[in-house]
Each structure stands twice: as structure tokens, then as C-alpha cells.
Symmetry: D2
Subunit: 382 residues, 4 copies
């Protein structure tokens, strides 16, 4: 694994736990973790249970005891590492967003395709597909329970930037993060909406905004970030929020919102699908629940029902606790490992593939293009 | 009162009840109700408690015992009746939308302004301003509890058109209804969003859609509606749904959705406001509740609180029941009468004024223009 | 109508509105309202729309233009008035609780039975049977949707006595109110639980408590209430709260709670029924909703559904507004009038009858007896 | 660790994860797991990550590489194992209920007290104290935020016995399980209520019931369970459900319910506390949330707030994920290990102690006694 911050910790939980809970065809071995700071990576290895460390990701990729490379670094390094890892004959799990640009994502997708022909697999880490409730929603859509899709309503609401004194972290600099709410939160909801519906977005119309354009520097004026103003602040160069509408290929209308300024909403990824035969609704803040309205029931007794997605017949639940004993955020990473290990064992393409990640990048690029061009409706390149 | 269908019944409840519950400076007398069908209007008068009937609205307007004309007809006749009533020296309460076109609304607004100088008042019936929870929300925003506004998230979701066999009523014909979800539901949410925020929309970017373009005729092929196809169906000529984004004058981002295809959502007018100091959320399906997040509280104990808006200190509640004994939809019309009677007694402009109604029409016109022009961002005329 | 306080206002709304909304076989005429203070009752008559007034209820009962007497006085006068009204050949609607003692209720029930043989009807005002959601729940239970009943869980939670400085009103004096939370709130939930289940309680085990035993006198030390202490306070002589368990005749277990000390709960009458085939749950603070779990559905898609009880096929809704346009507390009184007028027209016993009211009194008496006897299980007299 | 079923798996997650997430003063080593079936325990060791196995718990206790014994067996063996382990100088973590009888629990508590003087610690596994939301609730009560306690309302609702064809497992036989819902679910809610309030129950009045008294044998008529009837069924000898009321030492009223027959409720441990200054409410089915009503706020803006207990300043959250990224059921076991390891390191008594477990047993015994004695109020022995 390369990277050991928030995502590194979460992925480590996944690697450490999957084989303890699920019957896996192969046992993951946590060989080596890599980071630039030798002391810090040593501490992370001890904490998270990795057997050894490297400080140069190229060294990690060359090791014979590494079959799979898990990339948990910021987006600007995804392409370089993933391409090298695939070239070295490793399987790759790459955190989202796949890359900071469409061009990088295209190269990565081509490389993944070539690697697949050599028996190497590549997957992108859209972990919210692995919440039992979203996986159940996907299967219900696939069974036709919603009928013809009419509306997709999605928002990913956080609030950690509301305070204008919150410092200018790397996530607020375009050269490092690629984009702001859009790439971070927007990538998740675009992928999830397309996954759940089984459809692709055909085009979008977008508005983006940066509400607080200047913020204090994290380490003061000498921190090395560009565009430092005299008073120890720097420019925010990414979007704070994005709202966009769109059409799915079937003609359904969609609305999306990604923001870090929704005061009081901590991690509210909400999605609702309305179809001619039924509706589904989900909120990540209550991740063990799925709301379902069966539109074919007589009106007298119909209503949105709250399915507690903790029954043994629900996705991933066969291995966990009795009904009503809920799971949490980190379990998505356990499930991700389980699915990836099965895919590797069976030699089949894991989902979401790099091609899926590329398509999400294309949507995000269209969102940015529309926002720059007066919100004009912008088709998604195929 | 002119018109006696759904809105006529609701307004009658308002006129009949307001003086029984509130201390009004003047006692409304329900003199006369007007409708084209003499038998039907007689039945309606008996049912709803009107003293007499007319079949020609011009006759009603000329009566000396009429001080105020309440217009509950479809939108295509609002302008003509309102102008005549104002010219005849009557106060006017006009159902929303103010008119079917911006031009009509402008004429009406000018007439209202002239009438005001003669002591006659005109009000438009955006009754959702009179839910105690929305009135409370407005006062909390005005007190500065939200700080700088960042996001406005609004949807008005109904589902009565999901069934493609639902017949082609007048509401689905452009020549009668003006527009579809947009004019009916969209007018409400545009007004409510502007009212609650105390701001105006500066511009919008929109998508509209008609999902089911042909529907069975209500009375079969001879019903007289135009564009009848051979098999007894006719064209739907209004929008089924509209999604649009926009900017408020302060720079806040907004997203709007109006639809009659949200399976399982019956009357879900939902609005959420996020500001730098707090947030508010409301859902008409739970109209006695207002959710409030105070962003200035310490994070450890902060959270969205559910205010049950039934305390005596809440708007309109001084006259109703003890705490927790909720009100319903029709009470908005009682409150509307109360506020209008007070305004007349005090000779001050009631809100929402025709000018407010006009401004909503301008937003809706910009939505339609944007939808026609590839969703391009369209400023709202001032 | 006799009495014109809170219940008088609510009942007046019912009498005034029922014929405006429902097709009634007979038109109620609001002839006369009675109260001891001539000025106050005159004001009430004007406010609520009664044609004339009386200051002596015996005079009201003797009037020929009175066919039905609606008793909205405190419980200590119910028996005397009801017996006189029935003897005078009037129909009677009596507010709950039917009486302050079982003996009074027995006499009233016998009188009601005798009157019925003479074509005069008597009904007790348990208005919460007339919430559309509870009426729907009753019909679902009667259809067998719950199967064998296992659990009944009921609470009626208010909080208006939390403040120890709240004054000693008549409701806190045993000689006037009969009992405290038990007679006021407990009567409602015992009736509702028995109505919804279609079963009777067989026995109870109870605890009661008075948390604040001394309170300031409303008008100071000269207000005339007994037991005035030197410092201007008086004794609370009723229960503040009651909790009790019980068995229904079918063997189902029940738990009940009635309190005015549930800080933050304003009017939370909550009831949940669990049966072998399904469950139902209701909360008066969200009175337009009924939660239903169909236990016969496959576990994968099962869950409590939120039925919005606003569809035209729901009880009482045929006459009101479109789906999702909710009703409020006072509508229960409109429905009560509707049902009573139909019963009178058809000459059939209205429900709940005085016999139903008597049975509730017997349950409350058993609760008090159990609480006095160390909570021992106390059977309900039949 | 002794035992490897449901609780064994959950505890293993705790032992394996605590040191990976929290900074522990000592590193737990998962040395040995014990079970009677050699093959099965070997499989469990591999699955859950234990280094070795034993088939005789006495052998495990004698091992020098064992410092702490974690007892996850059914309740009938808790006393014997715990006493032996403490005698052998081991720390002990014992699953709840502490024992099947008060006498056993008393002996265990005395042994724990003696062991404490020798530096050995004993803790009982009431894991629901370690949900961040309940831990937060405890600290809010301790801060005085509720004022004088008035009501405690607790229910633990499951539904896995609704189907009468569900087989007669060991949990339904008194000789093995001690009791039914009462010992399993009731023990949790009695402990949690006493923990949250910081008070003890003074007395109880109870009803218990066994709804389905005969059930099919799990393995058919030869399964060896006693009381086999001719048709392959056996007697249920424990309670299916218990409802009881009580008084806390402060005078607050309590109501409790434990059942496995609440159709549609999967793991609904709900507790609400009402005090003179505020209220708290919790539901285990939404374990990342705590509802709080601050009764000292002005009524106009007051309401139950939903605290999302995922902030870094919340209990246990400093080590987990960003706000809004919820935890699940198993995390309570991770927190239990963390707290126990800290207690051992610091040599202080862990909570809940065996004395706490004993007190819960006394409450349960009083519940059973009251249920046998016609629900008479039964004081809790001190």
C-alpha cells in the first residue's frame, strides 16, 4: 500500500479484516507500506499491521512479494504509480478519483485493458458501492423494481469549510487536489448515481462557486504554498461547491450537489431515485437503512418503508452480525477487499473498473466545462 | 369569490374560520360566490357558506356589497378579472400564479400600484408563506441566525402523473394552464425560497422534460380538446418536471426541482437553507415541524433540532391549540385571511404583493428561456 | 353546548365545519351555548358562532330548539348534566372522561341504555379514534393484518408541569379533576388501545407518582382553594404521572405511561402494536402518518413503511384535500360530529358509547387500586 | 478466550482491532482460544486470528502466556470459569449476564474483590455502555444537563421468535440459558438504564409471558433435549417477553420491556430519559445518533436535536473517522478492550465491575419474583 493517511488507515482496516470475516479464496498478506517519511511510515506500519516499509514507491513496485498495489495517495500521483505498477505486473487498487485529468485517466484505462489481457486486474476505489444498502438498491433497480427511471436526486453535503478561518490545506489547491468538492465529493455521487441506475449521464449543466477565496496558511506564511498574501493567507484555487443538473441516457432528469458548506450536514450523501414503478432513497448518515416505495401497491397501504439492511440475505451481511446490529463506514473497505480478492481469484474484471473511473472523470470535466461556459448544457464524451 | 373548485373550497374555509379563531379588526362577510354553471355554483354556495351566487364575474364585481374579490380561477383568467376588480375599486386576493405571462403580470402589478394609491389592496395567494413553520423560519433568517447564505435546496415533489393512463386534464394543456409543474409547483418554491431568504434569484439554468407526451382524453375523443389523435388520446403540451439551478443576489447557490413524477412523494415541498452560522430545513409533509441547526453551538452537543412549531409564541399559534396539537394544510388559508384583513384595516400593502408575484413570473420565464436555450445561464429581469 | 373553554372551542369548530365538508344527512344548527358567566358566554357565542346563550344548563336542557347536548365541562359535572339531558329526551355528546367515578359512569351508562330504547343516543368524546391514521389502523387490525396480538406499547407524554413554578390549576386538585395525568391522558390511551386492538384489558399493575407536591396558587393565597400554605402555595392532590402494565384478554402484554413531565414531548401520544403477522405504530405529533410493518413480506425488502394517511381511500379523507395535504388536531372534532350525525340519522348506537366510557373508567379505577396496593395485579371488573 | 460463537467472533474483532486504532499502553496478544470441539476451535482460531487452541478451559487457565481470560460461553458456566481464572491470577472479562443466579454472582463478586486486592481485575461485558452515543449521554447526565430525573423509558425489542416454527434452541431452555428475553435483553437495558442515570432501581413490578410454549426441536426428536413431546416438539421453559415498571432511588419512574416478539423491530434498544432540565433519547438501530432536548432553551427555538455522535470530541471518536462516518455494532467491543487495557495498565477497577453485574442480577431476580407474586412491587436487595 502506498499512502498512510485517512485512506491508508481505512484501507488497512479492510485488508486486515476481510479474511477474518469472509471466506476468501486467497489470504491477503499485508507485506509492505510505503511513504516518503521513513519514521512516519514505520509508525504507520506498526499501527496498521504492515510487515515492512518502503520510502520509495518504485522500490515497492519492484518487490517480488507484492502482487497487488493499493494506491492511497493524492490524485496527482495516481497515474504515474498505477501505470508503473501495472507495467510491473501487479494488480492495482486505486483510490478515487482515478486521476486529476481525463487524459491521465484515459492512459490508465488503456493500461488497465492491456494488463487485463495479461491477467492483471485494476479497480478504482469507489467504496460507497459497497455499503450493503447501496448494493441492495442496485440489485432492486436491476430487478426492474423502479420501472422507467424519471428522477435522480443526489447531494453530498459536508460542512468542514464553513469556518473562514479553517486553513488552506492541500485539498484547496488546484495543483494538488485537481478540484475541490467536485473531485472529492462529486466523484462519489456521479459514480454512485450511475452505478445504482445502471445508466450513464448524457450531459450536464453546472454552476460552481468558491465562497471563501482566501484562507490562512496552515503553517503560516512560510509554508511554501504559492500565492501567499502579505498577511499570511493564500488563495483557494478550487471550487467550494458545485450544483449541476443533467440527463441520463434514458431521459431521466438528475440534480447533483456537492459542497463543504452545508452547515450541520457532516457526511450526508443522499440519493433518491424515482421510477415509474417505485422509488429508493438512501442517506449515508444512516447507512444501515434503505427507503423503498413500491409504487405497485394499493395506495391505501403504500408508503416509503425503511429497510434495515442487516438481514443475512442482504449483500455482504451473511458474514456479519444478527439483524439490527449495524455496520459502519469502514466496512465498505472490508467489502471492497472481499470483492477484489474474489475477482482476482476468478480472473474476472473487478468493478468499478478504470473505465468506470474514466467515465466519471469525463462527467466531472463536462461539469467544469459547463460551469466555465455559462452553464450551457454539455454532453459527456463517450 | 370567483371559482369554487379545490382552491375555492380551501379559500372558503379560510374566510369562514379566520374570524372565529383570531381577533380580527373587521368581520369578513361571505356575500357572493361566482361560477359559470348556475346549478353547480348554487350547490357550492350552500356547501361553503356563501350568501348568494352569480354566474357572471362582471356582475359580481359591480355589486356594492362586495369589497374584496378573491380570484380562484385558472391562471388564464386572472389578469382580466383582477384588472376589472381593481378598476371597480375592490381589494383583490388572487391565487398563484399571478398570471400565465410576464406581460399580464406587469399590467396587473401596475394596476395594483395605482389601486394602492386609491386605498385598494392587492395580494397574491402564496399560502405556504403562512405555514407557522415557514413564518418562523423567515423570522429566524431575518434575525441573522443563518449568517451569510451559502445554499438553498428546494424541491416540490408530487406523483400524481406517474400513471401514463392518468387522463389529459386542463392542467396538462399549455393554452389553459400556462405551464405544468413549473407554474404550479415551481411558482410556490420560487416564492418561498425568495421569501425565506429575503433575497431574489439573480439567474437560472434549467432543464425541463415531458416524460409522457400523450395521454387518454378525460371524456374520450369527443371532449373538444385540440390535437386529438385517432385512438382517443391527446398531446401533453406542458412540462412534467423542471430542474434548475441558480444564484441568489448574495451569491448563494440554489437548486430547484418541481415534478409530478416522484413516485411515493405526495406533497413534499422541501426546502433547506445553509448559512455560515446555521441551517434550516422544512418539509410540507410534516408541516408542524422545522429543523434548525445552530452552527454556533459547540460541536459536541450540536445537531439539527426538530422544533415542533406549535408553541403559543410561534407565528399564528396564539389563537390555536395547546403545544403539540398540530395544524394542517387548510390553516394556511385561515392565516392568509387574517393577514389580509389586518392589512386592509391598516391600509398597508399586504405581502406577497402583485410585484412579488410578478417577480416570480420573471423567474419562471427565465427558467423556460434557459430550458429552450440549451440550459444557458439566464439572468432574471429586474 | 355547555362549556366554552379549550374543549368548547374545539367542539365548536367541529359543529361549524362538519356540514361544510361532509355530506351530512342532517344540518347541525348551533343554537345555544351555556356558561355561568353571562358576559363571558356571550363573548364565546360570538366568537364560536352560537345563536344564543344560557347561564344555567338546566334552562338549556329544557329548550325545545335543542336536540342534542354537547357537554364540555370538567368531569365532576358530567354525570348530573348528562342524566338530566337524557331524561329530557336529548341526544348527548359527553367529553371524556365519562365521569370522575365508576359509580357515576355506571348510572350514566344505564341511563344511556334506557334512552337508546327511546331513540336517544349518547356518545363519549374520545376524539383520537377519529384521526384518519388511527381509524385506518383499526381497520387494518380488524382485517387481521397483525395476526395474534403480542404487545401493546402506549405512552401519552406531555411536559407542561415540568416547571415547579407552574401554578396549581383546577386540573391538579382531586376534588375537581378526579385524577391527574391518569384521568386526562390515561383515559385517552386506554380507550385508544382497546379500540385499536378490539380487545379489553383484563388486569393491570400500576405505579403513580406526584413529583411536585406543592405549587404556587394561581391567584395568590386568597384564591379560595383549600389547603393553602402560609407562603401562598397549595397541595397537588392528583398524580403527576402513571406507569402501568397489563394483559389484554387475548394474552397480549401491554405497557402504558401517562405523564406531564416528559420534557420536550408536547403531545406525544404514541402507540405501537406488535402481532404475529405485522405491526403498527402511531405518534400524535405526526398525526398524518401511520407506520406499518407487514411481517409476511420477505425479509429482504421488509421494513416499517410510513403511510401518509391522506389518500382519498383513507378514512374521512374523501372530503378533504389532495394527497399529502395534511390535517390537524381539530379535524378529529369535525369527524366526531360527522359520525354522530350519521348515527343519529340512522338511529344506531354511536361509538364510543357510554358503556365504552364506563369500561375505561373501570380500567382507571383498577390502576388506582393497584397503585394503592403495592402494584399488585388487579383484574378489571366486567 | 473461551467460546467462539457470536460473542467469540465479536470479542475477537475487539482484541484484534483495538491496538490498531487506539494508542494502548499495552499490546494485547491473542494467544489462545478454547472450545470443546478440537476441529471447530481450530477453524475458529484461524478465522479469528488466535495463535493456539485448547479444548479444556482448565488447561487454558493454567497457561503462563495467558494474562487475561475472556469468557464468551453461555451463562451457566460463567461462575465456574471466572472463579477458576481469578484464582489462577488472571484478569477476567466475562460476558453478560454475569451468572444465571444471584448466588453465583455474589460468589463471583466476592472473588473479584479478593482478586482486586491482588492486582487482578474483573469486568463484565455490558458492551452497550461503549457506544459513543451512550457514553456521551452518560457524560451529559453527569454534568447535570437533565436536572432531577423524572422518567426512564426503556425497551429492547427483537422479533426472531415471532415464527412459531422457529426451533427450540438452547436459549429457550431454562437449565441452559437461565432465563429468556429477561436475562438476554433485560440484563442489557437494566445495566444501561442504571449506568446512564447513575442511579439504581429501588424496586420493580413485573409481568412475564411465554407466547409460544412448544416449539419444534432443532435436530428432531432425538436431539437429547428434555421434555420432548411425541410429535418432535419440546417445551419452551423461559420467558418470551417481560414488561416491568419500577422506581429509581431518586424517585423517578421507569418502564422496561424486553421481547423477542416485536415484529419488525430487529435490535431496537431504545432508552429515553426525562429530567427537569432536559431529555435524552437513544435507539440502537441508529447507534450513531443521540437525541437531546435542552429544556432550558426558550420554547420558541427548542426541540429535540439529533446529535450525530461522530465528532472528534465525542467519546472514542478521537481515533476513528471524520465526522459523519459512522461506526457499527462491533466497535463497542473494540472500545471495551481499549478501556479494559487502560484499566489494567493503571491498576484501577474497570467498569462495569462484577459488583455492577451482581446488582443487575438482583434486579432480574426481583423481576422474576414479582412476576411470580402477582406483580407485587418487589424491592431490590442491596
Amino acid at each position: 500500500m502506498i499512502g498512510y493517511a485517512f485512506m491508508g488507515a481505512a484501507h488497512s482496516q479492510g485488508w486486515r479484516t476481510a479474511g477474518r470475516v469472509f471466506d476468501l479464496p486467497r489470504d491477503p498478506v499485508m507485506s509492505v507500506i510505503c511513504g516518503r517519511n521513513a519514521t512516519a511510515v514505520r509508525t504507520a506500519a506498526d499501527r496498521h499491521g504492515w510487515a515492512s516499509t518502503e520510502t520509495d514507491w518504485r522500490a515497492l513496485i519492484e518487490r517480488d512479494d507484492v502482487d497487488l498495489v493499493d494506491i492511497c495517495t493524492p490524485g496527482d500521483s495516481h497515474a504515474e504509480i498505477a501505470l508503473a505498477a501495472l507495467a510491473a505486473g501487479k494488480h492495482v487498487l486505486c483510490e478515487k478519483p482515478l486521476a486529476n485529468t481525463v487524459a491521465e485517466a484515459e492512459t490508465m484505462t488503456a493500461a488497465a485493458e492491456a494488463a487485463y489481457r495479461n491477467g492483471r486486474l485494476a479497480m478504482v476505489g469507489f467504496n460507497y458501492r459497497r455499503v450493503p444498502a447501496t448494493a441492495l438498491a442496485r440489485s432492486m433497480v436491476a430487478e426492474g423494481r423502479l420501472g422507467a427511471l424519471r428522477h435522480v436526486r443526489v447531494a453530498y453535503l459536508q460542512d468542514w469549510l464553513v469556518d473562514p478561518e479553517f486553513p488552506l490545506t492541500w485539498r484547496l489547491k488546484k495543483e494538488l487536489a485537481g478540484s475541490g468538492s467536485l473531485g472529492d465529493l462529486g466523484a462519489h455521487i456521479v459514480d454512485l448515481a450511475q452505478y445504482l441506475t445502471g445508466e450513464r449521464l448524457a450531459g450536464v449543466s453546472a454552476l460552481t462557486e468558491t465562497f471563501v477565496r482566501e484562507r490562512p496558511l496552515p503553517g503560516g506564511p512560510t509554508s511554501g504554498l504559492s500565492a501567499v498574501s502579505a498577511n499570511g493567507t493564500g488563495q483557494v484555487t478550487v471550487d467550494d461547491a458545485a450544483v449541476f443538473t443533467g440527463r441520463f441516457t434514458s431521459g431521466a432528469l438528475a440534480s447533483f450537489e456537492a459542497t463543504r458548506y452545508a452547515t450541520g450536514r457532516k457526511n450526508a450523501l443522499r440519493i433518491e431515485l424515482n421510477g415509474s414503478r417505485g422509488s429508493l432513497a438512501f442517506d449515508l448518515e444512516r447507512l444501515n437503512e434503505l427507503a423503498y416505495h413500491d409504487g405497485t401497491e394499493p395506495g391505501e397501504h403504500a408508503g416509503f418503508r425503511r429497510i434495515l439492511v442487516t438481514e443475512p440475505e442482504h449483500p455482504y451481511l451473511e458474514a456479519w452480525w444478527p439483524p439490527g446490529h449495524g455496520l459502519g463506514y469502514e466496512h465498505t473497505f472490508v467489502h471492497q477487499v472481499r470483492d477484489l480478492v474474489h475477482a482476482i481469484d476468478e480472473g474476472r474484471r473487478p468493478e468499478p473498473s478504470f473505465a468506470d473511473g474514466l467515465q466519471v472523470q469525463r462527467v466531472l470535466a463536462a461539469v467544469e466545462e459547463s460551469a466555465e461556459k455559462n452553464s450551457v448544457y454539455t454532453p459527456i464524451a463517450v
